[in-house]
Amino acid sequence: MQNPVYTLFRRLRSPLIVLILVYAVSIIGFVLIPGIDDKGQPWEMSFFHAFYFVSFMGTTIGFGEIPYAFTDGQRFWALITMYATVISWLYGIGVMLSVFQDPVFLNQLKKKSLIRRIKNIREPFYIICGYGDTGSQLTQLLSKEGILSVIVDPEIDRINELETDDFLVPPLSLCADASQSEVLQMAGIEHPWCKGLITIANDDNVNLTVAIVAQLLSPDLRLIARAETPEAEANILSFGANEVINPFETFASRLALAFKTPGLYCLYDWMTGESGKQMKEPPCLADGLWLICGFGRFGRSLYDHLDDEGVKLRIIESDRSHRDIPSGSIIGRATEAPTLKKAGIDEAAGIIAGSDNDANNLSIILTASELNPDLYRVIRQSSDKNSHLFENAAHEMLMHRGSIISNTIFAFIRTPMLGDFLRIVSRFNNDRASELVSKLIGVVENDEPKLWEFGVTSKDSPALYKALQDRPILVGDILQGITQYGSQERDKPISAMPLFMKRDKGNILLPEDSRNIRAGDRILMCGTQQSQHHMDQVLSNHQTLENVLHGREVSSSLFWDWLIKRKSSD
């Protein structure tokens, strides 16, 4: 990185030399030209006086104070040097102003200050490469949670857009190509507070390159990438990315889950969906013919996943030259009623409008609803700007690529254990999944459910960590209710349940109440906002923890301890 100060000085080199030379010549002139003092005696200006005179003349300050009145020879020389010094000053100032207006120079200055700001970050932050629809949603979500992000995007328009957007925690932005290792280093990939790198550019190749560079620069960094083809997904996973999100695959596999195990669909939808939403009822997808409009990447993923579940499918694709379309597909425009009729819309159970054109998808759904009002309608939304249109169009399920990616990534950032938990849970059968869902609903009741995790460490849960050194504590112990002062009975237990526990390399799914907690464990919890708050108290406050463990108020001072002991021994 070039230092902007050097650039400034290099450009100022010739004006400065001109200035020095003009001054030198002017001073020499005044020293050499003979003058006359007030008594009419010959007098020569010393260097000191000459420099003094030229200084106030050159800067156009123009004191009238001169030791003695000038002779005509001196006036002649003053006339010349007056213009020469003023011109050389103007030249220098002009060059300086032009340097400060130079976009390249300004960019250097900006980069320099950004690098300094990134260096001075003293809180956990994430690097986000790519600020499109997805990137802006994710940044919004992170800033709402109070997490700082550093954004890298090569397009200046997007960076300008970011600067005008309103954020709770304003992100830092760098306009550069993230696939260069230098840029990632600038963005702070090796910074001790950098928690992870998220690469969500539109282009799979960019994401792949960024992932490789990131992996080489700091192998232990948490890496979350977006990929839109199965090949890129496998490739990025192969060199150690923590999570790869393919929006089409993600949605298609969820939809397949909705057919096979609706309970799991609910779980996934809620855990990786928009935060602060209540858990939805499982969708009721009828068996029967399903129409998929569009056979691009999305249509193909859908076809593969739903076909595996044994759903009867029919593709409608307008592009005749499309290769490997399954047999029995209809070629034609799905936006037109005759095509839909030909595809058997009258007997169909559901329709998926999955082309990459928002207007077409809306039109498909409108036409299909007229032809068959009982259809289950799934619609794909590509652009963020059309959100209000999609809100107005009647549909049962919406596939919005940007939200799927940003919500999923956000969920993985907030609770890193979620990825492993969902992978294990995905093997559940419907009964087990439904049981888990009803248990969760029992815990959170009508409140908004919330996921969080904590580690049994001196930093995350100081009170618990300390107490564990004296005696064993069970999972069930810390979930017990608090006993209020003077009361004999405990409050209701904390409305939260442990979902998942990591101990060294082992995973424990749904740890029972009778399981021991050990130092170093990480636990994923599910509950309400309030219960998370309670739990924080129990984990970090020594007194609250003792209260919960013993079922009575414990004081913090020796005096109160003594008083209470005396009282109880009476």
Partner: protein, 127 residues
């Protein structure tokens, strides 16, 4: 041949020679130290400083540092000269002149380091 290099070397060497010219002679004999030579040495030294500013190389940084030292010493010498002649009394006596000359001697050393660096750099670049 590179004209930029010629200018650069010219000013560095000229700064040294002018400085040397002022420095040689009896320490306290005003007849052997010319005030115009001191003035020229300062101007050339300032120009060579400006030429060195903005060079990113390690050698450039050392050039800049030595040049700044020379400027500082020469300007200090000029200030002592100006103060004695114009502010206190008006006669440059032996003691003040000795201060001026010794200050310029320090600048001479700094300029000498500059030239030594220049020569070693030239030798390091074969052909």
């Amino acid at each position: 041949m590179n004209s930029e290099k010629v200018t650069f070397a010219f000013f560095i060497v000229l700064a040294l020679t002018l400085n040397f010219g002022f420095f040689v002679g009896e320490m306290n004999d005003p007849g052997q130290h010319n005030v115009y030579e001191l003035f020229a040495a300062i101007v050339v030294s300032l120009i060579s400083t400006v030429l060195k500013v903005g060079d990113r190389s390690h050698l450039g940084a050392v050039f800049l540092a030595t040049s700044l030292v020379a400027d500082l010493q020469l300007i200090a010498a000029a200030v002592v000269w100006g103060m004695t002649t114009s502010v206190f009394g008006g006669v440059l006596d032996g003691a003040s002149l000795a201060t001026v000359v010794s200050l310029s001697g320090g600048a001479l050393l700094a300029n000498f380091i500059s030239v030594a660096l220049l020569v070693s750099d030239t030798i390091a670049v074969r052909r």
